[in-house]
Amino acid sequence: MPGLRRAFFRPPMQPDTVLRLRGITKRFGSLVANDAISLELGRGEVLALLGENGAGKSTLVSILFGHYVADEGSIEVFGAPLAPGQPKAALAAGVGMVHQHFTLADNLSVLDNVMLGTEPLWWPFSRRAAARDKLVATGQRFGLGVDPDARIAELSVGERQRVEILKALVRGARILILDEPTAVLTPAEVESLFGTLRQLIEQGLSVIFISHKLDEVLRVSQRIAILRGGKLIAVLPAAGADKALLAETMVGRQVHMPTRRPRTPGATVCRLRDATVVAADGRKLLDSVNLELRAGEIVAIAGVAGNGQQALAELLFGLQSLSSGQLALQGRAMPARAADWVRAGVARIPEDRHAVGAVGDLPVWENAMLERYAMPVFSRAGIVKRAAAQSHARQLIERFDVRGTDAMGLDTPTRALSGGNMQKLILGRALVGDPSSKQPPTLIVADQPTWGLDIGALAYVHQQLLDTVARGAAMLLVSEDLDEIFALADRVAVVHQGRLSSARPAAEWTLADIGLAMAGAEAEHAH
């Protein structure tokens, strides 16, 4: 694939500047989110904005789109100054934004969504015919075919993204900002998005592409701007850059990519037999799933979000009971009681660390004992052993490198931690388990453990998981990130509409196979 990269986009003939940021500075209190950033975007160019979480990417883009007002600096679009703090002005100047989380009304049609907000409210008649013509024409021009009358709820994630892009284009965007556009897409949808981007720049549009996935950035962009700690560290041509260099520039130190130690699978720890989970509305969330998890082995579940991986993870978190079938942990049938799973030594890492993994309003030390507060290590006769709990938290913070507790110590409210540090706390809580025992967890259940983490935190989480599995834990990984799956998994299974494929060794899967299976092709084979 890297060979493809150079031929992928023709460099623009004349890089005349369409967007110019001069000395953009934005402070939030004592934090400098953007520090005198100057940047230019050429006509027909894809500029990647690369940086860790908190590097200032979102702030910069929000200033450009008028959500924030810069403390200092100016913006020029097509040679004219852009009024600060007005999304309308940005739109009128030809800046369009596609957010990571789509801003579409699910119950309206594509056409309605594209028209939404474009018509004056006092005008009694809607100019649907004209709007439809424009939508269809724009779609044809850029190769973005979508049925104007389809309801958003019926569309796939990739199609919804196309609608978002169309929405911006119909409103006359000449500069398109895409915020983490590939995070929610299947491999095939990513290819199709890159095709769209190619068409856009061939027709003279310019794109700012925000991502933290290095492969994609190298493939899709011509120049890469790297932000770190609010400063623009470097602007590199994509040709000639390599991953290690980008990662290092982004993080500011050498990143230790996780290393896998050889391991041999041991005894079966957890077994699912014909496991079926039926939702309240009668839909089968999981349909006769068979799966075996062995000590010292990582099994990954790939799949497009919403195909049943949530139910599978919740089964093994002890939150969901089976409608039929069997679930055994170390040969014992287990009830759907989270406390029992914790006691059995299951390390649980939920997908949503803010809503499920931690109680944000409670201090760090209380969250560190959240799963085990009732056990004799942390309480006696209904009284919390404060000293024991706090020293446990202190050890977790030290061992798992949780930062952000300097000012207020263990009493720091957990929501004040950054996402990466909160995840390290949850990871540490799960992997250490019972502080009075030195045993590794019997089973790790990790649902999107690195979702939204920057590359440094990601590498750290991966290393910790790999090390714990090497000590003999079994692990189930649920992830939508195929890079993560292939970096960690020994065996991979794909879930589609509640049905799980057999878990085959990771080496036997090709990217194309897995993409097809995620789209349901294999399930059709089986019938």
């Binding site: 007002v69 403390d71 939920p350 809503a355 993994g357 309480s379």
Partner: protein, 359 residues
Amino acid sequence: MRIEKRAVASRRLQLAAPLLAIAFTLGVSSLLVAWAGAPVGKAYALLLEGGFGSTFAWSETLTRATPLILTGLSAAVAFRARLFNIGAEGQLYAGALAAVAIGGLHGGEGFALHPALLFPAMMAAAAVAGALLLLGPALLKSRLGVDEVVTTLLLNFIVLLFVSMMLDGAMKDPTAMGWPQSVVLQEALQLDKLVARTRVHTGLIWALALAVALWALMKFGTLGFQIRAVGANARAAAFAGMPVGWVTVKVALLSGALAGLAGAIEVAGRTSYVTLDMSPGYGYSGIVIAMLAALNPLGVVAAAVFVAGILVGADSMSRAVNVPTYIADVIVSVSLLSMLVATMAAQYRLVFRRAAHAG
């Protein structure tokens, strides 16, 4: 000028917020006092004097504060777990009725037991009555998702009608010349006075002890930890293995019991029998007090004394300068609103934009 959220609320501002809120409240209320045609300075001086200016004033304020501390604690513990118990008023009456049923009925002497046994039985009955009254709404909430604000609020009216029925029926005092009031509590069960020739009674000690106990439970107990975790993020608490429904039930029992005790202590310490007007909305004021105290049990004591002092002071002030006693309700309500706004505002900062650069 823009408003931005602070990452961590400033501690100094959080302490200053109540003071600013009180200052704002006095400002707003003084407009109303002036409107009523009274001299503002004198009215406030009289209000303070009436509430806190003498031993008698203090005794009246503390008498009034006693049930308010208990209903305030009831609301504070329930709200901390996000169980919005609006039914403390009903639970208070249920407790009062239960106290009289144990200690006053059966020939005006209560059950034939030694007072040393009868007194705890009476208090326990009141606590159980209040607790059971909240158990239904709590179960409906945790099992079926029924909104407890609606159920507890409506239960208040049901309880009041029930009390009315009992006062005219089974528990009617035959010597009360037809007034709707219950039989009198046996003399030995009534609480002693703390200070001679005042109404302040040992119920105040009970209320203070319960406030300290609840504070310790919330801070050091595993149940307090469960309550705080469930209230702050029930999904995370459930993920971690906490029995969320069971915690809600325990909180309901605790909150209802505290409100029920408020009724029993009010009967045993002040009125000695139940009437339909024995509580001028203590249950509802408890909510205000809990919010003023930011749900802190020790703060509840301070807030209850403050509210009681305003209520008592307003009585004597209105007699002297002819401002309606409703001014007390206005002061309490405005102080609640400005308190809520002030604590919210402490989480934000104002940013003044330097206009010149941003063009």
